[in-house]
């Protein structure tokens, strides 16, 4: 009970700031007669968000599926790689420098090339970009998490004659979970960005990124902003889905220790 109350209390300042920013935005445009192509009024954006719902929302869903696919593939491979790196030293030694170097590559710059590799009109090229963006943060954090069990905890398990596999299952994996969820939260937002940016370089006409891009090119800025609004909402939805999953899985965490 008190937990719910405190949570509501935690949200209040953020909500106040949000409302103030929107109000200031709306007020500034009205007061200084700012041209609509520079910055449309929030009320107009919301209106278009509703009137265009038959084209906009399916486009959002299409792109969301790409992001979701990329998120699942990239995060899954990241966790798998972290597990392999943790279990086989030589694999880790060979793999880690390459992974870190790869992280320095601006992945978004690869978007046109991914388009060529996977057919630019298919959702697969966007999934690939989202997956690549998600992979490394998930891998690095999972690795740190798998190493986060204390030596004493491992010693205690050895005193129970636990095998390496049992220690992994009962100690290393649960100890890693908070780290994994921190990474998944980062990846959830990256996945949506990856999918949208991928679509800027071409994609199905029913995709949100393509829609935003073509609206902007034809100076149709209000629908473009409505598309951005939808993209943000979908990114947030994925983020909060991860947060909800974390609440269910990492039940033991003290409320203060919660990141984000």
């Amino acid at each position: 009970m008190t937990l719910t109350l405190r949570k509501a209390g935690d949200w209040t300042p953020a909500l106040v700031v949000f409302v103030l920013v929107i109000a200031a935005w709306q007020g500034t445009i009205a007061a200084f007669h700012i041209q609509q192509f520079l910055l449309p009024k929030p009320s107009d954006i919301v209106k278009t968000f509703w009137t265009d719902r038959h084209t906009l929302w399916p486009a959002g869903w299409y792109t969301f599926k790409e992001a979701l696919g990329g998120f699942a593939i990239g995060s899954g491979l990241g966790m798998l790689a972290a597990t392999l790196v943790g279990r086989f030293r030589t694999f880790g030694n060979a793999f880690m420098p390459v992974a870190i170097a790869a992280n320095a590559v601006p992945i978004v710059a690869f978007a046109p090339i991914f388009g060529v590799w996977f057919n630019p009109l298919s959702p697969h090229s966007k999934m690939a970009i989202a997956a690549v963006l998600c992979f490394l943060p998930v891998m690095v954090n999972t690795m740190r998490g798998l190493q986060s069990a204390s030596p004493r905890q491992v010693e205690l398990m050895r005193s129970y004659a636990a095998s390496d596999l049992e220690i992994w299952r009962r100690v290393r994996v649960p100890a890693a979970l908070p780290f994994v969820f921190t990474a998944l939260k980062v990846a959830s937002v990256l996945a949506m960005i990856g999918a949208i940016v991928g679509e800027y370089f071409g994609g199905a006409t029913t995709a949100l990124g393509v829609l935003i891009n073509s609206d902007a090119e034809s100076f149709d800025f209000v629908p473009a902003w409505a598309g951005i609004l939808l993209a943000s909402m979908l990114g947030l939805a994925l983020y909060f889905a991860v947060v909800a999953a974390e609440r269910i899985v990492v039940r033991w965490a003290p409320p203060e220790a919660e990141p984000s």
Partner: protein, 266 residues
């Protein structure tokens, strides 16, 4: 197995670290008998924690042998013949208190009903009744350590290894837990090997104090503790208690000289 066969036999154990440059233990010879409460005391670096880990087969001796319950230390570990308690409670933060205590029982493949009964019994013994569904972070340090002791005793091992279990607790909590530990020990009749750097704690708890000296880690002397049993708060005021404390302190001073353990005057 005869009643008087030692629970632990340590023969000629030497342990070196860092490619032989540091001798943590040298030619240790010790026997621990059933239902003994042995305190290992010595300054930092005397190898007392290492010796405990050698007994538990968590560290391999460079030479010499350790026999536990008439078997090799390795076999004894694989048979789960001992329980261990560390300075910090080493509770698994993702398990509730009850599930932490149940962990060794899960490892021993006890069925659920049997586990639940034993956990309830242990929580009552360490006065944690009603805290079974709490997570470790919701408990005080003293309560966490009690949970850790309950876990170690839960499967009634013949041998309990304790590595400065109360070292991180305040003096009042420590004295209360000392008494609780003794009452559990008297009830369960295990053999306890208790590492500490507190002279008064060693004398108060044990039936025998093994004094160790550092560099290389050796046995400086053994002091049998003939205080009346069961011990109580009054034991600490017994003149014999002070004589024994002095005896242990002098053994430490003779061998350790400037390397006395950090200990407030008793």
């Amino acid at each position: 197995m005869s009643e008087q066969q030692p629970v632990v036999e340590i023969r000629n154990v030497t342990k070196t670290f860092a490619h032989g440059n540091v001798t943590a233990l040298q030619d240790i010879e010790l026997d621990f008998h059933p239902r003994e409460f042995v305190a290992l005391i010595g300054p930092s670096g005397c190898g007392k924690s290492t010796l405990l880990r050698v007994i538990g087969d968590l560290v391999q001796p460079t030479s010499g042998t350790v026999t536990v319950n008439g078997k090799s230390a390795r076999q004894a570990r694989n048979d789960r013949d001992y329980g261990i308690v560390f300075q910090d409670s080493v509770l698994f933060e993702w398990r509730t208190v009850a599930k932490n205590i149940a962990l060794p029982l899960e490892m021993l493949r006890w069925d659920k009903a049997r586990r639940r009964d034993r956990v309830a019994e242990m929580m009552e013994l360490v006065e944690l009744k009603g805290f079974g569904d709490h997570y470790p972070w919701q408990l005080s340090g003293g309560m966490q350590q009690r949970a850790s002791i309950a876990r170690a005793f839960a499967f009634e091992p013949a041998l309990l290894l304790m590595d400065e279990p109360f070292g991180a607790l305040d003096e009042m909590t420590r004295e209360r837990l000392n008494l609780e530990l003794l009452s559990i020990w008297e009830r369960l009749q295990s053999t306890v090997v208790f590492v500490t750097h507190s002279i008064s704690e060693a004398v108060f708890l044990s039936t025998r104090v093994v004094v160790m000296s550092p560099r290389p880690g050796r046995i400086a002397g053994v002091v049998p503790i003939d205080l009346p049993s069961p011990r109580s708060a009054e034991t600490r005021e017994d003149p014999r208690f002070f004589e024994l404390v002095t005896e242990v302190r002098e053994l430490l001073r003779k061998r350790g000289e400037h390397l006395l353990p950090e200990e407030e005057p008793v």
